[in-house]
Amino acid sequence: MNTKDFSIISSVALATATLAVAVFLPNSLDAGNDSAPQQITQPKLVSHGVEFTLAAPNNRTFKTGDEPAFDLNAVNTSGEDAAVDVQISMTSMAPSSRFSRMPAFPQTLWQKSCSVTLKPHETKVISIATATKLPANRTIDVMLQPVNPQDANAVEKPATQTFTKAGGPSAIVAMSFSTISPAQGTNPTLN
């Protein structure tokens, strides 16, 4: 083995080692018991054998002043006729005071109850228009929940109260988006 051979072996070894470390080291540091939560990409509400999902038509994104519309997809997974009431709520939350322990109470921007009847294994897509303009500087959640008149959370609060309640424990957050620009987000409001 001459000097040239040694030079080639050293160069290739160095390049291979660098490549191996660069590719695998970040994974190695992130691995172990410290795992990130799984993320369910398509939230689904199941009520009386019917699966409900929500999507923006044509993957549309929403911004301040838009009037969002949604497609409610209902799939009857059972072998029987189904008639289910589902409530769709759109809530908004303003950035909190920077001193707050938690975000302020969400306000309900819009809500609608849909009665859906489906034959066995039938699928329906229901177009929903909110006719509600999105306020600026808010985070928006769109929630699905079964309609249950017995649910205490469904009872309206007295009219004297200016704050409304978000979905109850049976609600799922079907979509989330924001009308906050990054620049606004760096300066939460003060009380």
């Binding site: 051979d5 291979t16 410290d34 799984q38 001193f99 322990r101 205490a152 959370n153 957050v173 009380n191």
Partner: protein, 375 residues
Amino acid sequence: MVRWQTFTGAVIGLALGIAILNLADVGRRQAPPSGAILSECNGHFRELVIQYEPSAREIVSRPYADFLGALGDDVTIDVVCPNRAAYDELVAFVGQVHCKLRPIVVNHPMTTWSRDRWVALAPASPDGITTLLHQSEEAAAKIWPARAGDEKVSADIAKALPSSAFALRAPFYFDGGDFLADDETVFVAPHILPRNIQCTEFSKETFVRDIAVALKRRVVLLDEAPDHHAAMFMASIGNKTVLVGDPNLGRSLLPASIPADFPELPGGPDFSAQTQHLFDAVASQCAQADYKVVRVPTIPAADGRSYLTYENVLIDRQVSQQIVYLPFYRGAAALNDSARKIWQGLGYEVRPVDCTSTYLHFGCLHCLVNVLKRS
């Protein structure tokens, strides 16, 4: 065709790379064995954690001064601060205290609320390491730099105290205040559900199972409760007993016309039937879980977030003494007296902490202080 020099070099390089990766892995800390979530009501305080951010001085200076001033010399307080100047400021306004103060300087924005950042899992052995179970993403962190900084606090503490704390990310989203634990049960506020169901967990059932596995306690998930953190409306005091807030009781202690110096309640007090129902539902679910329930006066405000609460306490239990650090609010003497008598009647020495400046920011004493170690 690959020449023999290239092949040999690649083999040596791979071997070298594997050796470096193994060394890096050895350097990474492994999760220590851990026990159950630390009880809120058993054991003597040994090590507590507070966060101090100078812009929140007006909010926390009174409760910190009252609380830290009442602790003994066998308690260590880890003070998480954005910088050293903040720590020095806290030491100055707190004044002379018996407990030991120790700074953890993090050099990033943060809030002043320690409780929600993590829950402590007790060490598996008496001389073991406490696991700080934290969530991977704080609510609103994307638009709130201080909250984004809060995400790092568990790791900051573990880095500063490697022999006593280890930070571990939970497989679900939570605020520490969503849980309230004693030696047997962890009560979970329903408020936690929308962040997780159909987001990190497929169903409520799998979620309850995963919480029980992570916290190693029986889980009582409250189906109905005020939309707030658990310790805002209930306190777990051991011996299968809980205190639950009662707006009606609070109302009975108010004069016919609310005096001018009464603490501010945004939107006025919320004595609605629906809110009363939610507090009563908590009491009834605790009773169904075989707990004795004691009701305590509470006044929630109509903003749904600001509470005059006497459940947001810290309990220090020693061999022959049980102490409660109990919030009080200037201008609410009748409520304060009633709550104090209830706690005294349960055998507690009451050490009052002025939270008049705090409750309007949606939290109180328990929300400001986290417990790392009890004896």
